[in-house]
């Protein structure tokens, strides 16, 4: 007779590990399954880890976790072919405890986090793929793995199996994601001397900087480029909705090469050596794409539940919090020995009450709006650059004249109305 656990968590990313950690800490007998050789081996993100949600799970984790740099500056570049309008916030308070966020390399961080769950008593089994949920009388009673004698049972199964979540799909919780519900991010890790990084990004030791790049980084396709500082590497990448890549017939690695060779970006990365190449899908469907997250004997967390705020590039924090909320629900369900959907559905309610549900609701139409109206990235960012260039180029023309020129550049009266209307609409979906 195969062994039975209280809970099986499928996938040792931030969501699954957070869930397993909280469960093990509460004395729940939990099995954490990971398909990679070790947790983090197959996990990818640009690299920003948010302190607060991690600290909700492990207080003062930053004293021992393998982090790269605390971020003290966040820059945003509205980039055109050979210009950029940049704004940034730099605050040294972010460089001190309790910090705001950090750059991390997932291969190291996820491994550490999973070790912490094991210390709490979770049982971690790697190199094992959960191929389907075992369903009996309409409830999930375990998972089938790809190994011989691979069936394993539990009162409740948590699906933290990432963006494609084949297991949730098998249960009919969601269909295949549409190309406008997922983004494809490709990135490289570039080796560069620590001192060179600090000089180029105006940092001191143990300070980090993130740059988000809009506009020409993605050749006008909806998406962003990013450049983050690690200890002695840089993470550079570009993510665009899959639908955008399809529409523009651009291959993702071509876009990454384009960003790397962009005259506004190249100087940052000059002389660096690529050491790793990564690519991953990101669920960016937002609020409307959140699938069913609770069923009889099963919960869905993290990327598998589409919990990503694309506008604020938040995802790992939502993953962790969703894992924690799932664990809270399971602990409650265990006390009452009731793992039915109506009991486990409390997880969905907790999720929607938390910042996750609130934030995703706030931006529920944002991605779709910008996707439907490409002029924001294709036209308005170059327009902004031309305006800035006009205003700051000292060529003897009076400032009145310059303002007139900028005004003319906005186009005909009709186009100006359209611009005003678009700005109103953008405000509406973002507010």
């Amino acid at each position: 007779m195969p062994e039975k656990f209280d809970c099986i968590v499928v996938g040792a990313g931030p969501a699954g590990t957070a869930c397993a950690y909280e469960l093990a800490k509460a004395g729940v007998n939990v099995l954490l399954l990971e398909r990679g050789e070790y947790p983090g081996a197959k996990n990818v993100m640009g690299g920003v880890l948010y302190r607060k949600m991690m600290e909700d799970i492990i207080p003062e984790f930053y004293k021992e976790a393998p982090l790269e740099r605390p971020i003290v500056e966040q820059r945003f570049m509205m980039m055109d072919k050979e210009s950029a309008v940049t704004f940034s916030y730099k605050g040294l308070e972010w460089g001190r405890e309790p910090y705001n966020n950090f750059t991390v390399l997932r291969a190291k961080f996820d491994q550490w986090f999973a070790e912490k769950a094991v210390e709490q008593g979770a049982l971690l089994v790697c190199e094992t793929v959960a191929v389907e949920c075992i369903v009996e009388n309409g409830r999930v009673i375990g998972v089938r793995t790809d190994r011989p004698d691979g069936d394993i049972y539990a009162d409740v199964v948590v699906l933290a199996d990432g963006v494609n979540s084949l297991l949730a799909k098998q249960l009919g919780f969601h269909r295949e994601w549409r190309p406008d519900e997922v983004a494809l991010a490709t990135m490289e890790i570039l080796k560069l001397d620590k001192n060179v990084i600090e000089d180029r990004f105006n940092l001191e030791a143990n300070q980090g900087c993130t740059i988000e790049i809009f506009g020409d980084a993605t050749k006008g396709i909806l998406g962003t480029g990013f450049l983050y500082t690690n200890k002695d590497t840089l993470s550079i990448g570009v993510g665009t909705l899959l639908s955008g890549l399809i529409k523009h017939k651009i291959k993702p690695y071509e876009l990454l090469e384009y960003v790397k060779n962009h005259p506004m970006i190249r100087p940052y990365i000059q002389g660096s050596e690529p050491v790793e190449y990564l690519a991953h899908l990101i669920p960016e469907g937002g609020y409307h794409s959140i699938p069913k997250v609770a069923g009889n004997g099963v919960l869905v967390v993290g990327d598998a539940a589409q919990l990503v705020n694309a506008i604020h590039r938040e995802g790992s924090n939502m993953a962790m919090t969703s894992g924690r909320l799932a664990a809270e629900t399971i602990i409650m369900a265990k006390e009452q020995n009731d793992f039915s959907e109506s009991m486990l559905d409390q997880y969905r309610m907790k999720l929607m009450e938390s910042f996750i549900g609130q934030d995703l609701k706030k931006y529920k139409d944002a991605t779709h709006h910008f996707e439907s109206f490409p002029q924001y990235f294709e036209q308005y960012i170059p327009m902004l650059n031309r305006a800035a260039s006009q205003m700051f180029t000292v060529d003897g023309a009076s400032k009145w004249e310059k303002q007139k020129k900028i005004w003319r550049d906005l186009g005909s009266t009709k186009q100006k109305f359209k611009l005003a209307r678009d700005m109103m609409k953008a405000w509406k979906v973002m507010k």
């Binding site: 062994e3 971690l124 089994v125 094992t128 190994r147 069936d151």
Partner: protein
């Protein structure tokens, strides 16, 4: 009951290890630690023999605390018990001192459960010497059978084993008394995909760990660096081979050029 002990080692994955060009030593941090590939085949063979003849498979390793991971890997493969000797006194051991320490541990294991067969990998991929296996056999005064690529029969009652030993131009069939020691080639078996219950057992498993003090009748002078007469005077990465010549042109031209090169260098073929 048949008792087979596999001796294993955790090694850096030399397929991807980087050499430090200044010191000419391996940058061990640059490569993940893995179970020595030959040893995985040793454990696999022990487990297959157990399945065929019944019995128990133990694994033994010497190493620092993280080497527990290599033992867990063996439990995944189907080993029943794991033993590790770990102590600063063992550090810096060459093959002579290593075989001494492992022999002392094997004697201790044998006191608990007599050993019928010891299986080692042919060699480790970080040292490439292939000396520890035969060293153990010599110290235990049992026959060493190196380069084994097939076990034909194991007969505990009558006390013999029949194996194939790989030779340069074929193989030889050898019958040996038990207990004896095999060192195995990679082609002896294919590593099986571990069943899930083994994975779960391995995740929970904690091996028996002994320090130098836990072993009996140990001559400390024979342990670790002190017991190692080997001196590594220099290690260097082999020079990269020079690129060959690629012949171009029509097939006829290529054949003609090839022939003239062969004739020119005919002393190489004599």
């Amino acid at each position: 009951m048949l008792h087979i002990v596999a001796c294993i080692k955790q090694v850096p994955d030399t397929k991807i290890i980087k050499m430090n060009p200044k010191t000419n030593t391996m940058d061990r941090a640059s490569a993940p630690a893995i179970l020595n590939p030959y040893d995985a085949h040793a454990v696999e063979e022990a487990v297959r023999l157990k399945k065929k003849y019944g019995g128990i498979v133990s694994v033994l390793t010497m190493g620092p605390p993280p080497a527990v991971k290599a033992i867990k890997k063996c439990i995944e493969l189907g080993a029943d018990e794991g033993y590790m000797i770990s102590d600063r006194a063992f550090a810096g051991a060459d093959t002579l001192a290593t075989s001494y320490a492992l022999t002392k541990a094997l004697e201790k294991i044998a006191k608990q459960r007599p050993i019928d067969l010891i299986i080692c990998g042919k060699m480790t991929i970080d040292g490439d010497t292939g000396q520890v296996g035969p060293g153990i056999a010599r110290r235990l005064n049992i026959p060493p059978l190196t380069g084994v690529n097939k076990v034909v029969e194991l007969n505990k009652e009558k006390g013999y084993a029949i194996v194939h030993r790989k030779l340069e131009d074929g193989y030889e069939v050898v019958k040996s008394q038990l207990p004896c020691l095999f060192t195995v080639e990679k082609d002896i078996n294919d590593i099986s995909f571990a069943p899930l219950p083994n994975m779960i057992k391995a995740a929970r498993y904690q091996p028996t760990i002994w320090t130098a003090d836990d072993l009996e009748d140990v001559d400390r002078k024979q342990l670790g660096l002190k017991g190692s007469p080997t001196i590594v005077s220099k290690v260097w990465a082999p020079p990269k081979p020079e690129g060959g010549k690629i012949l171009t042109g029509t097939k006829e031209e290529q054949v003609n050029e090839l022939l003239s090169i062969i004739l020119e260098k005919k002393e190489l073929f004599s």
